[in-house]
Symmetry: D2
Subunit: 421 residues, 4 copies
């Protein structure tokens, strides 16, 4: 890897590129070559594909437009590693990513090195007049790569779960936990509040513009819902009681035979959970994880509560420090709340909100192909807040809007309860 | 039919029940017995089933709990004509409604008569202490029946479209129309506004409670988008330009081979449209109808506009009179705006809003099985406003929230544009 | 109805047309108008469609080519009531037949009358030079109509089974039966045998030409397998033992959750069976019916036997009289073997053979569109022999080859066992 | 690898085991680790899985029952590498084989070495009383491995075709070919003939017993149908003419948009063909390959011919020498007939026959779990004869019955024409 030159006019910190690129590769270090090829379900991508796609992003949006004379390593990668940018051109069908044994893992690492070398050239040689736009794209590319770092971990976990041998990604067994703190209700006053990002550091287009909302008084749970909490729901017949569920959720329960979160397995009468450290006995004190929106919603209804809106979440957590169990902990798994003061706003589990993923008032997508980054997904998905144990801490913000379909369970998704004030 | 007795303690107007029940049957008068049996796609129900289900509603929620000694005509109808109320019991699968040739149409009319007779008894004999709850349920049942009057027309149209003979439901050919008024932009100031129903007459639970929202200044189109407007979008390659579409919408376009609204057919190079009066040449001045949310959204984006939120819609239209082209016109088809002052807020076409169908702050579903009426559908659907040419005018309110999935096209759905102020 | 004139040069018996056409309508007499519209699964067709399609056959292959100046009642019926004759033109998709509420039942009967009138004209006026070809087509058309008489009963049964009210088609409850005769093994010597139709009366193209086959000595069961026999298989865990099943059959068992023949229902611990007389207690002595090829094959394997080939079947039964429980009995249900001499070769149940439906050596399909009648279905289906309780006796022959897919269960299909000699 | 001891009582030739096992690994030599993991469609298996499954076969049917004290390398492989033997126990779903990144390729080779070592022990130590049964199983295991050698090549080709980079497996470009010899008709007299295997060397159970059939006189094409022949069919609109197709075949054409054999691609107006040497210009003289039964049948019908039955094929080719273009040629692709005398009975392409895959009269599957090897697939498939360019020559026999579903195109399948005599 290389260090970005101090003489570059780019506004980015001088070693961000190299560090983030290296971090991606470090996350892949535990993988066998075979593991790089797997796409166990259509939601996931092969790790190899992630490695190449984030590289494609720099090549497509920085090297090709800005580096004079740039020659791609292989012109066919433009199509193969395009994820969904129609404006760039056709792309290999998502469901078929697992069929691409070529380029090999080795060739993908060569592709990364090729692009990294030219990115260094570009950063060195960047013309002052391009610096602002390039700086924005570079920052976007690095945030994009960080998103895929999280996806890598999500997808590896899902892929390993498809294997009855339950391979181990990381030997870090989570420490035995004490009991979790009891949940309390935090009162938050309503009124006119502002949410969204209004400037300052980097933010995705979907977090903008900052705008006013009117909120009624509300209450939020003081911590994430735990496995112990969720077990009560299961034991109370939660998965058999239609009246607790949204109609689409009840259909999902019936058709997919859901009776527990995604990675739970009952072995000899004891609940276990697939983790990135293999199959472990379920820790009752840890946050429940890998639940769908429907399960989160049904659990809340059973508790005579509801899920918070994203505006409520941001109004409550917006001023809190971005601290918690992020990917840097190396646990790759949510941890029990650390005591009375640990509110778990950030890290551990992405918290489902009751807010459909919609444009903020005045929203404008980026120009050109990058306008496809976020805006076109604004239907039928829900917003999640706060990051998780697979998110890089430097990637998180109070205004960050993640989004998944309500049936998705393979992200590190969890639950925070809300009630009217 | 019968008239409800004046001596009844029920707060409902004295002939509402009979009139609404009779209206449903009048809508079925043009049908052959064969037509009552058709469910051309899973979205629709056989007309016979509608006739019976609305009757089941009165039997289940009024006669069984309140009329001492009530004997059902056939105990098996409880299951067959239950739509989706898990709390009542199991129900026949929706997709299989077309297989139920028994009870016959004749038997279904007998069922209606049986229930109507006992409803008259109940209304006569209603104990004063039950009057409030019964009155609410009666009103709900009548509004429910009005909803199915609209569904009947939607479904008959869809069913007839499946027949290459394109049967005619009503001989009322729409009059030839003049050109439509040009669309203007209506400026609406933002600020704190109140939406939702706060009391007064009947409203569904999903319209409540009335609550404050904060809106920015915005502009709305002065009338619905016309077929002529939409033809420009088609002619500009709207259905081939991925960048105009939401990702899920673009998938729908590709997978379903959409290239025009649902009922449009190009015959000898001329656009025609299936209507309840048969196959007609498309009227350019009439509102475009039978478009999905995705098409409405893509059209708006192409016009450098967007869809209004439901709060914007209600803020703009909430004070307008409930007038327009409703089912009573007998046209069963949207009409061109009648001149400079006709803003088409109500009637003609349901207008897609950009708002996902979610609970209002403080929302509480009804108690018991009736809680399944609205609340459990609050995911993955969008709100539509204003009613359509198949809606009874007495059924409409400014706060009325209709909802469909974004891919649905068989309702009378249309487009009103919005822009930021 | 009319009688065909004695002066006609057509070789057909003078009242066959009228009688067979009338018989079809008589079979529909118990139906309500609603029943005519149902297609409960893609395999079945609405009774109305059957009535019209057999009429279309005469119109397409006799009236249009041979009756000068013939005017169709409605030109659109050519497409709507074409089943699968690509050579005639496009046809309405099979799965969508249930959506065609128009023409109505009444109009379909008018269509029948229209064609019948013109068929009478044609038969009267038939030019001597056309008589041979017309006679063949007339006979084919009548045999075709007889096939649909059987399909009508099969389909009505399947449609009524989709209704939890289990409607009754015929009030003829089968008489209580004595025990069935024990099955014996009939020895049949092998050698060169001839099968297929070599001339004489009418036969379909697929029964021709008559040809030699070499058979080894074999044995056949003396009667059809009974419900009592089949219950032993079920009670022995037949549906749970993979080793008894063909691979595709085992997949069907798992995916479709088969655990008994199609129409069996266990109510309060007692096996019942849907019949055209409604839901009855299972008669152990009656032939098992409505089993797939896979079930027949698995049952035979469990009995250390196999299914006969069609050549074996014909070699054994070819000389037997065409007698048995056919549609004329009015039972519409298989009956127990009537004693030691009742071998049930004909009627009761179609007997699955081990022979894939393939062309006989030297097979030639009919010329033109009628070549699509049989030949194009000669893949992936199995031959069944002997007719059933829904077959007209005059329609049956020793050489008759019926065919269905191995997973089909809605025909009246049963089992005869075979063993090597 | 090891040599099997000369002192072994096993009747097998002394180095067959080692040679065949080594041959499998040699076929995998051109693969990158990534390639071992791909299952591009449900029909194929990852090469890694093939390597392990054939090893599992020896472990399951020889080491576990016969080698005292044998310890499996990993007990979980019993399930993971079981293909479809219900009698052995549960198995990983076929469609999910691509998700098994563990065991890795390296571990699979260790598994092979582990089993090979113990197989050597077993062969050394084989008790005389077990020798006969063990010898049969060993031979079966080796023939099984040879079948998977062919499957490996078929599957690699299919997998590489899923990659728009069209990777090259073998650099052996086929030599430019002269024109093919014209096809002549070979007359074969009918009468009583014997087919099937009656003893002598190894044969699968499905080739037995040898038995008499009666054949009419017939004619067979003197060579396989060529690409040039097939192009005439395409150019004559073969894929647009419903009357040429079986009904199921026509559905396949429409639903799968077939317009040429599987691996044909039209690039700049010129037909190319995917081969194991990459994408090449189509050689008109080479046998057409990768056609379904439906295409073979339609082509034959268009030529006023038909496909041969397997009895006809064996009667004609049974006495011919087993020579031709087998896997040992290293071409991995069918070659043009080498002149007037090259009848291509063996090698080049598997020839579809008109015979459904059914048990021969008197057929008995093997005892126990090995009875699942062949018999349970005897429904809905067709027999193919003669081997192909991916078959080991030592694996071929005149009586060999291969079988595929009529829609399968990824095997090396071709066409030989037949006519009545």
């Amino acid at each position: 890897m290389f260090a970005i030159s101090r003489s570059s006019p780019l506004p980015h910190s001088d070693n961000g590129y190299a560090a983030i690129r290296a971090r991606t590769e470090a996350l892949c270090a535990p993988l066998a070559t075979d593991d790089y090829q797997v796409q166990s379900v259509i939601d996931t991508s092969p790790p190899k594909w992630h490695l190449a796609h984030v590289t494609w992003f720099f090549e497509t949006f920085l090297l090709k437009p800005f580096l004079a004379g740039y020659q791609p390593l292989d012109a066919r990668y433009e199509q193969i590693f395009n994820s969904y940018y129609n404006s760039v051109g056709p792309f290999h069908p998502r469901a078929q990513r697992h069929t691409l044994s070529r380029p090999t893992v080795e060739q993908v690492y060569e592709y990364r090195a090729h692009v990294d070398r030219h990115m260094a050239d570009l950063i060195e040689s960047c013309a002052r007049e391009d610096a602002a736009l390039m700086g924005k794209r570079l920052t976007l590319g690095l945030n994009h790569e960080q998103q895929h770092q999280e996806l890598l971990l999500m997808d590896i976990k899902r892929n390993f779960f498809a294997n009855p041998m339950y391979p181990v990604y990381s030997a870090n067994a989570p420490a035995a936990s004490a009991e979790s703190a009891p949940m309390r209700w935090l009162d938050v006053p309503g009124g006119i509040r502002e949410i969204g990002c209004g400037g300052g550091g980097f933010a995705f287009d979907n977090e903008q513009p900052r705008h006013k909302v009117f909120l009624r008084d509300f209450r939020l749970g003081s911590r994430a819902v735990t496995n112990a909490d969720y077990l009560e729901f299961i034991d109370a017949g939660g998965y058999e009681r239609a009246e607790l569920w949204l109609s689409d959720g009840w259909s999902a329960v019936r058709e997919r035979a859901w009776n527990a979160p995604l990675y739970w397995l009952s072995l000899d009468g004891e609940w276990h959970e697939m983790t990135l450290s293999g199959l472990n006995v379920l820790d009752p004190a840890a946050p429940v994880c890998h639940v769908s929106y429907y399960e989160a919603d049904a659990f809340a209804r059973w508790r005579d509560a509801r899920l918070p809106t994203e505006a409520e979440w941001e109004a409550a957590a917006g001023g809190e420090p971005i601290e918690g169990n992020f990917v840097e902990s190396g646990a790759y798994h949510p941890r029990p709340a650390a005591g009375g003061d640990d509110r778990q706003w950030y890290g551990d589990v992405w918290e489902w909100t009751a807010s459909a993923y919609s444009p903020y008032p005045g929203y404008r997508p980026l120009e050109g192909a990058l306008g496809e980054y976020n805006g076109k997904f604004m239907s039928s998905q829900y917003v999640l807040r706060g990051g998780c144990c697979a998110t890089p801490v430097s990637h998180m913000r109070a205004t960050y809007r993640n989004f998944f379909y309500p049936q998705d369970r393979w992200p590190f998704t969890g639950i925070r309860l809300a009630r009217d004030g």
